[in-house]
Symmetry: C2
């Protein structure tokens, strides 16, 4: 597996050869107890497509994936995590030696304040409400310490999509926000197509509805433009 | 699709030919808003394996499935649902004309009391806690009105597995509880094997750890014994 991934990268000779990119995908599960959890709708398809596209362009890709049911993309190193805290840790580790991060995961912004270590029984331990705590903000955390590294985030919104995406770009301090309106059937969780707008500090590019593989290709093209040129050999 | 399913059943000529069985599988998602939800760990593999086994024995199978990422079993009619309320309705509809129900779904026993119609924004609408309401109990509901129909339920437990299964059998009024200890690696959510005990009113059968397909076969064999013989032709 390691050898075939290495061969894959050597053969790729793409325009991202030598670049190290960390990509997050899927939801996170925030446990109430060993059986129940709080989560976010996400199939992981968008992030997996970006990982596959980046690898096809020759990048060294680390995919930090929440719980999904998707095959691992060829030539990509996958780290499986469950919670937002685990995703932050794995993503920070990979980002330490990376050139860029594309954060496509639908991270739960809240977690149950306490997770029970056994299945709560309805009769003996009824759950009237779940007290929540805020999860770490992976996009903000990486953006704050990014230096010259590129960080691309996502904004899944049901209302005021562009306005929320612009606000997110400004407050988090990343290079680009991929905004999508998840209230539309052709760009929602689990669908094979997506309709996004790439929101940068100086420009906004509205893409047509297209397969997630093509959206991934557009994002990788933009990443290529955002990366500073390599030192000359 | 309909024709191939019909041909499949005609060809099957199995020991459950002419029997109508409703099977539930997977988790349910209970929305907080269009993005966030409360759920239960469940891959759906156990319920899908039971549906496939029942169809292979010649039964007319309706599979009521929560959100999973599994291919639909051949020769099985699948109804896709999201919430426990939807699962109850679809299961009751199918049970009205069925001979038996096998309830393998990991139904959320709670749902958020209110589901927002838009994605709640952390800054403007912070979520300190989620107030919960009890969901309908599908196993109890079907068992109470089952008459001579067979009802088989599941108990996924982390502690006092058999004791909880016996209690469940007695209080719900079903024919059999399939008890499994989800704190073990070889019988937990998402794994391909399971280790269960079949808990009936007069006997308990502890099965070895085996692939979920074989567990499904054992459950279908037991279902066959529980169904009263057909009227002679």
């Amino acid at each position: 597996q390691i050898v075939s991934a290495a061969l894959y990268r050597i053969r790729a000779r793409g325009d991202l050869a030598g670049r190290r990119i960390v990509i997050t995908a899927g939801p996170t599960h925030e446990p109430v107890d060993p059986v129940r959890y709080l989560s976010n709708a996400s199939s992981g398809k968008m992030g997996y497509a970006i990982a596959a596209a980046a690898a096809a362009h020759g990048a060294h890709v680390t995919l930090v994936s929440g719980p999904v049911s998707l095959p691992e993309p060829a030539g990509v190193g996958v780290i499986h995590v469950t919670t937002a805290a685990q995703m932050l840790e794995a993503t920070q580790d990979a980002f330490a030696t990376a050139d860029a991060a594309i954060l496509a995961a639908a991270v739960s912004d809240y977690r149950p304040e306490q997770a029970a270590d056994h299945k709560l029984k309805k009769a003996a331990e009824p759950i009237d409400n779940i007290a929540l705590a805020e999860n770490p903000d992976i996009l903000a955390t990486l953006s704050q310490s990014r230096g010259s590294r590129v960080v691309i985030g996502f904004a899944a919104e049901t209302d005021n999509v562009l306005e929320n995406a612009r606000k997110k770009l400004a407050t988090k301090g990343c290079d680009l926000i991929v905004a999508n309106d998840v209230s539309r059937d052709d760009s929602t969780f689990g669908s094979d197509t997506n309709r996004v707008t790439l929101v940068g500090p100086h420009d906004e590019t509205e893409l047509d509805c297209m397969p997630k593989e093509q959206v991934a290709e557009k994002i990788i093209e933009r990443l290529h433009d955002l990366l500073e040129p390599d030192e000359p050999l």
